[in-house]
């Protein structure tokens, strides 16, 4: 069973990349709601319904987090660490989407429990293709962890 328009949380500080990612998803016919966090703190606030997002329902979690590593305030690895450290969010699929192909970035991401690691290609056609496969896999094919004690089980 898949949810209707599951939410994707895109953590990305580059406006162009946000726009291009949005476009890539549209072109790949992934019409899911895309929530954008411009830095690590915004992402954490959204996920944990804190700070500027204090009024949010903390159980209303996105179904996929696309996480850049180089971010202002709180960087991507720290966001990932906090996601994995919290019982409510520790099973969230997190895909690292970055321009780095540094060994240490890749290793740290996996060590902290990233589900996947994607390098943003320069060629937009390649990026669109990647976005399509990514959405198809994580939002359609992949069976997410059941939400224990939650009411949103379909």
């Amino acid at each position: 069973m898949t949810r209707k328009n599951p939410i994707i949380l895109l953590v990305e500080d580059n406006e162009d990349d946000v726009e291009l990612t949005r476009r890539a998803f549209e072109k790949a016919n992934l019409l899911n709601e895309l929530v954008v966090a411009r830095n690590g703190q915004e992402a954490l606030d959204y996920l944990f319904a804190s700070g500027a997002r204090a009024g949010r329902d903390p159980d209303d979690l996105p179904h996929l987090v696309l996480l850049d590593l180089k971010l202002p305030l709180v960087d991507g690895l720290e966001v990932l660490r906090r996601i994995r450290a919290d019982d409510r969010t520790k099973r969230l699929p997190v895909v690292i989407l970055t321009s780095s192909r540094e060994d240490k970035d890749i290793l740290s991401s996996y060590d902290l429990g990233a589900n996947s690691y994607l390098r943003k290609p320069v060629d937009f056609a390649q990026f669109t293709d990647a976005a399509r496969q990514l959405g198809l896999y994580w939002l359609v094919l992949n069976e997410p962890a059941p939400r224990l004690g939650g009411s949103s089980r379909d």
């Binding site: 580059n14 162009d16 990349d17 321009s99 290609p121 320069v122 937009f124 990026f127």
Partner: protein
């Protein structure tokens, strides 16, 4: 008077090279009485005396005044005499200053300790002042010379007797031969000087009054020659008066004997002079040994310092290198982000606004996209080059044939319709970093694939051969090849031998190959002829640790 004359004589000999300057002697002793007594004796003898009450002041004076000789008391509060001499010997500027150690009575170990510390001689404190002065003179005499070992050390002791009277010569010869000396005779000063040039002599007996070159002139010449000036010279004369004696010593003679004396006196004097010479030679040898040891130590120290400096420089260079690599890496990364925007939004324009752009406008946009993508490739290749230089080298046994096969399979599947043959030698192994070696093979196979793309029946070969006794791997193609005139440029970044339209590329691949191979301690080279394909070779030495290029 005699002692004073001898002293003056010896001082003159030593000071000869210092023109009219008086010889300065530093006395270090904590006893005021003894210090002043010695000062007085020294000044009477013609030295300039400076005194210090303790070792520290003594060392300070030695450094500032540079005395010609040092007499230091063995037992002092604070720094003792042996230590003072040791410090002097460690100072390059002072180490040649002759040092005499004054020792206490009944101290049997004093001699050994004195020589151990590098003293040129030792003398008992209660000895006659004359003895102290004589010892000082002997030390001063032998100080500036660094002659080779003298005859006395090896072979029998040889005495040269010079006199115009053959009768007297024969008498001397008989007496001295009885004492076991090897005696050489000469009838004139001229002949004696010639003989001295030809053989090693340990003591000279020289007649004062001779026809031709007289005794005084002969003595002067012997004492002027650095090869002969250290040979003890005893002047013989028939004259008895003191003036003659002092005059004789004034020419540089070490001793003076009246011909009318008993032969026993002559023998005793000869014995004493030879003993003195042996003592000096012994001293010199010890000093030279000490000096040699110090020099060796200094050399070892210098070598160590050099190695340390070198290591520091290498470390600094490597650190700068790493910095530079890290810089180029982050720059390359940051350059990619705007490229993505240029490419992405240009494509968006082409897709969403096609109808509003005419053919020309669309063409321009396509060029923008192509340029952005080209730059993306450039950056990616630069990143790979940077990684090739930075990545930690992890050597293991690698199945090179398997990597080559996998790459060939990838290439084939990238253009399934293309006719190309891969000939890959089996079971080739290397001691290398598998990831980096894969980059080498990817680049070389990629090139071969590219430059053979216009060949009807492309053949790409991978194998190993021996070049100058070293195993070398190679990738060969039958593509367009290149002129060997440009072979040297190939492995330099951004050097391309073909136009972008003919064969696209960034010109970084071979630079990456070379960097990786060099990090493995190997080398790269290529052979080709225009139109006849190209072969790229590389070696991967097994034992040699990889180093940064």
């Amino acid at each position: 008077v005699y002692v004073v004359a001898r002293g003056r004589d010896l001082v003159r000999q030593h000071g000869g090279t210092f023109a009219e300057e008086r010889t300065t002697i530093l006395v270090i002793d904590d006893s005021t009485t003894f210090r002043e007594k010695l000062r007085e004796a020294l000044e009477q003898t013609g030295y300039t005396a400076i005194v210090a009450p303790d070792g520290e002041e003594g060392l300070r004076l030695a450094a500032t005044r540079r005395p010609n000789g040092i007499i230091v008391d063995c037992v002092m509060p604070g720094i003792d005499g042996s230590t003072v001499i040791r410090r002097i010997r460690l100072d390059a500027a002072l180490r040649r200053i002759p040092c005499l150690l004054l020792t206490g009575s009944d101290d049997l170990g004093a001699e050994v300790r004195a020589l151990d510390s590098g003293a040129d001689g030792f003398v008992r404190k209660e000895a006659d002042m004359q003895v102290i002065l004589a010892r000082l003179a002997a030390a001063l005499r032998s100080a500036p010379t660094q002659r080779d070992e003298t005859a006395g050390i090896a072979g029998p002791t040889r005495v040269l007797a010079v006199d115009d009277s053959v009768t007297y010569l024969n008498e001397i010869a008989n007496v001295l031969r009885e004492d076991g000396y090897d005696v050489v005779l000469s009838c004139s000063g001229e002949e004696a000087i010639e003989m001295l040039a030809a053989q090693a002599i340990d003591c000279i007996l020289l007649d004062l009054l001779m026809p031709g070159l007289g005794g005084k002139e002969t003595c002067r010449r012997i004492k002027a020659l650095h090869t002969t000036r250290d040979i003890p010279l005893i002047m013989l004369t028939a004259l008895e008066d003191q003036a003659a004696m002092i005059e004789g010593l004034g020419t540089g003679a070490d001793d003076y004997i009246s011909k009318s004396s008993e032969f026993d006196v002559l023998r005793a004097r000869v014995r004493a002079q030879i003993r003195r010479k042996h003592f000096e030679d012994e001293n010199r040898r010890i000093r030279e040994q000490l000096l040699r040891r110090e020099l060796e130590a200094a050399e070892a120290r210098a070598a160590r310092e050099l190695a340390e400096t070198r290591a520091a420089l290498v470390e600094e260079l490597e650190s700068k290198n790493r910095e530079l690599e890290a810089f180029s890496y982050s720059v390359s990364h940051d350059l990619r982000a705007p490229l993505r925007s240029i490419d992405g939004f240009s494509q968006a324009l082409l897709e969403d606004y096609t109808e509003r752009l005419d053919a020309k406008g669309q063409n321009y946009l396509r060029r923008v996209v192509a340029a952005a993508q080209k730059m993306g490739e450039l950056i990616d290749d630069l990143l790979q080059l940077s990684r090739a230089g930075r990545a930690e080298l992890r050597r293991e046994r690698v199945d090179v044939s398997a990597i080559a096969l996998a790459i060939a399979t990838d290439l084939r599947s990238s253009a399934p319709t293309r006719v190309a043959t891969f000939e890959i030698a089996e079971r080739l192994y290397a001691d290398a970093d598998p990831r980096l070696l894969r980059i080498v093979l990817e680049n070389l196979f990629g090139n071969a694939w590219k430059f053979a793309s216009t060949t009807a029946k492309a053949v790409i070969e991978f194998g190993a051969t021996h070049v100058d006794g070293t195993p070398a791997y190679f990738v060969r193609d039958n593509g367009v090849g290149f002129s060997m005139a440009y072979a040297a440029k190939l492995f330099t970044p951004f050097q391309r031998l073909h136009s972008e339209a003919e064969f696209p590329g960034t010109g970084i691949g071979l630079a990456t190959v070379r960097r990786i191979v060099e990090r493995h301690g190997g080398r790269t080279w290529a052979e080709s002829c225009v139109g006849e394909g190209a072969t790229f070779f590389w070696t991967l030495p097994t034992s040699k640790p990889g180093s940064r290029p």
